[in-house]
């Protein structure tokens, strides 16, 4: 995987911080859409060389939270500090310039544009100088093809409009792009949702690698089996509020699973599944295990 610095024109802060440094800190942050309070009083931090997992039920406010970090939405309450400086990210471009790359849940692709143009959108590789500076099309096609192949996606043609790709293929493009351009912080909103087993494995490996390279990673998932192996810290959201921030050392996979599923409420479901599917069903067992 060759990376030229020329390929990352928007990224000025290209060097990851020392492991453990707090890159992003949020204090009592909140977000309202009109009268809808999607998030309130959330405090946590993203550290270099660590994977922070954000967990929570559907509609808990996870995506809202990361959209604030990514500069896609401005927060309405609380404080956001980047490198210790209070900041309001006015646009995703501002975040990208600080080295924060994001995979959005809705992927942020332009359906009618070819795959390779989407891959490099906003960070195009050019050659030539002055008024004759033009896109280095071949290089961009080559890189996007090979980065996707590395994720196990063998595209027929990177000139295909991205809107005609399958859901998983599209998600892989978004992930490969963020991984390729993420310099200091990598934010991934349910990156493995539409992915097959193989591709999910690759994404988890990418996350681990990015962490090892000293990047701060924010990882959202509904799958405790994906969160636990790579996560260093777990933040749980429920109905827009933070339920706390737990280091990995303080929890087991089972605790995590049960916490994600909402504990007690699951019990009845597990029982019901057991009777529907039979007691030996792995799912029923899993559920039972989760509710202890």
């Amino acid at each position: 995987m060759s990376r030229k610095t020329a390929t990352k024109p928007v990224t000025t802060a290209a060097v990851p911080a020392a492991p453990g440094t707090v890159v992003i800190e949020v204090k009592d942050i909140g977000k309202r859409y009109g009268n809808i309070i999607a998030l309130s009083d959330v405090s946590t931090s993203v550290r270099a060389g660590e994977v922070t997992c954000v967990l929570g039920d559907n509609g808990a406010g996870k995506s809202t939270f990361i959209k604030i970090l990514a500069g896609a939405h401005e927060h309405t309450d609380g404080e956001l500090l980047i490198d210790g400086e209070p900041t309001t990210l006015s646009s995703p471009r501002a975040a990208l310039e600080l080295g924060i790359a994001t995979v959005y849940q809705d992927l942020a692709v332009v359906p009618l544009m070819p795959v390779w143009r989407n891959f490099f959108l906003g960070s195009e590789i050019t050659k030539g100088a002055g008024p004759f500076r033009k896109l280095d099309v071949d290089e961009m096609k080559r890189i996007s093809k090979s980065e996707l192949a590395a994720m196990g996606i063998d595209l027929r043609d990177v000139d295909q409009p991205i809107g005609t790709l399958s859901g998983g293929e599209r998600q892989c493009v978004a992930i490969a792009r963020a991984v390729y351009f993420g310099a200091r912080v990598l934010i991934l909103d349910e990156p493995t949702a539409a992915l097959g087993v193989k591709q999910s494995g690759v994404v988890l490996r990418y996350i681990a690698k990015a962490r090892d390279r000293g990047l701060g990673v924010v990882f959202i998932t509904h799958n405790p089996h994906h969160a636990y192996p790579v996560g260093d810290r777990f933040m749980l959201l429920r109905r827009g509020k933070s339920m706390g921030d737990f280091p990995k050392s303080e929890m087991t996979l089972d605790e995590l699973t049960s916490m994600m599923a909402g504990g007690a409420e699951l019990e009845s479901l597990a029982h019901e599944l057991e009777s529907t599917l039979g007691a030996d069903s792995p799912l029923a067992q899993e559920m039972k295990a989760e509710v202890q």
Partner: protein, 348 residues
């Protein structure tokens, strides 16, 4: 892990030709050829050098605007003030030179500055207010239409510029914007307007920008999915304001081409033309919803429009039915266009 396999069993077949067929302008090209052939066969003059010179000249000014409007439409916006700007810039030059004795070149630069300013105002209004550009530029259009009329009347007491050809250095500017080149050695053999070269130049430049520069990438992106574009770091504001300024700049160029061709401008010049530009862009394969289209296509669209207009005249059909013919031809052209494009899609 393998990167690219030479032959992929999941692809039926490909060729360079079919690759070409995927371009958005292919349908417009086919329609243009058919219409050319039709009039070339059914009329005497259409395909002769004098005839061709006439419809090329007609296509050139519309075409320049259509190309600029196509860029804007690919970027997801409309500019209804585009027609009125051609009038405004022409009037500014005419009034400043004939009434106030300003040097022609100075007047030309003043009008360019005014045009760019109008474009910038359009762009900033659209981006800052979040209002649809259709309605914002409609407002600007009305304002300009009124200013063109009332301002001209107030300053020179009539609604058309007269006597421009007598101002000093007029010939210099005419050589650049208004000249014509004899095709067959004499004016009677047909004269190719210099505007045709401007048109070709603008089309080539726009195509290059769209397909080979970062800005082109951004134009497609802001038109295709503005939120996504913003999320991946495309400077949406700058791109869109730039597009509005480009359209206004093209309006200025066309204003100059018109004023130095006929040496007159009327207060009503350009009013109503804005929709013709949009029509040409759409005939040329641009989507009304943005994110798709081509500059060459818009140029073909203008060519089709102008050829149909001239062809009807050469055919000697009853003038009352002009619009009916125009409508039928337009429908035929876009249907053909669509048919070719669909075939190309399937065969690609």
């Amino acid at each position: 892990m393998a990167t690219a396999t030479a032959v992929d069993e999941r692809i039926a077949r490909t060729s360079t030709l079919t690759k070409l067929m995927k371009r958005p302008e292919i349908g417009a090209l086919a329609a243009a050829i058919v219409i050319f052939a039709f009039f070339a066969v059914t009329t005497d003059t259409f395909a002769r050098s004098q005839g061709a010179a006439t419809w090329l000249s007609g296509a050139s000014t519309i075409g320049i605007m259509a190309v600029a409007v196509a860029l804007l439409m690919i970027g997801g916006e409309f500019d209804l003030s585009a027609g009125a700007i051609t009038g405004t810039t022409g009037l500014v030059v005419g009034i400043l030179t004939t009434e106030y004795g300003l040097n022609v070149w100075a007047a030309i630069f003043v009008s360019l500055a005014i045009a760019l300013l109008i474009g910038m105002v359009n762009g900033i209004l659209v981006m800052r207010t979040g209002l649809p550009s259709f309605i914002v530029t409609l407002g600007t259009f009305f304002v300009l239409q009124g200013v063109n009329l009332a301002g001209t009347k107030a300053l020179i007491g009539q609604v058309a510029i007269q006597g421009l050809s007598n101002v000093p250095f007029y010939d210099q500017a005419k050589a650049i914007f208004g000249d014509a080149i004899d095709i067959n050695g004499s004016a009677a053999g047909g004269q190719l307007r210099i505007s045709v070269f401007w048109w070709i130049g603008v089309t080539a430049l726009a195509t290059w920008v769209l397909l080979r520069t970062r800005v082109g990438n951004w134009i497609f992106a802001v038109g295709g999915a503005q939120t996504s574009a913003r999320q991946v770091g495309v400077p949406v504001f700058k791109t869109k304001v730039g597009l509005f300024m480009t359209t206004a700049g093209a309006g200025w160029l066309v204003g100059m081409l018109l004023v130095f061709r006929t040496s007159t401008v009327q207060a009503g010049t350009g009013v109503g033309q804005e929709f013709i530009y949009i029509i040409c862009a759409v005939v040329g394969g641009c989507l009304m919803t943005g994110g798709y289209g081509s500059a060459i296509g818009a140029a073909f669209g203008a060519l089709i429009y102008s050829m149909v207009n001239s062809g009807i005249v050469y055919s000697g059909w009853e003038n009352d039915w002009l619009f009916t013919f125009l409508g039928v031809m337009l429908l035929v052209a876009v249907l053909l266009n669509e048919w070719v494009r669909k075939r190309a899609e399937l065969a690609r």
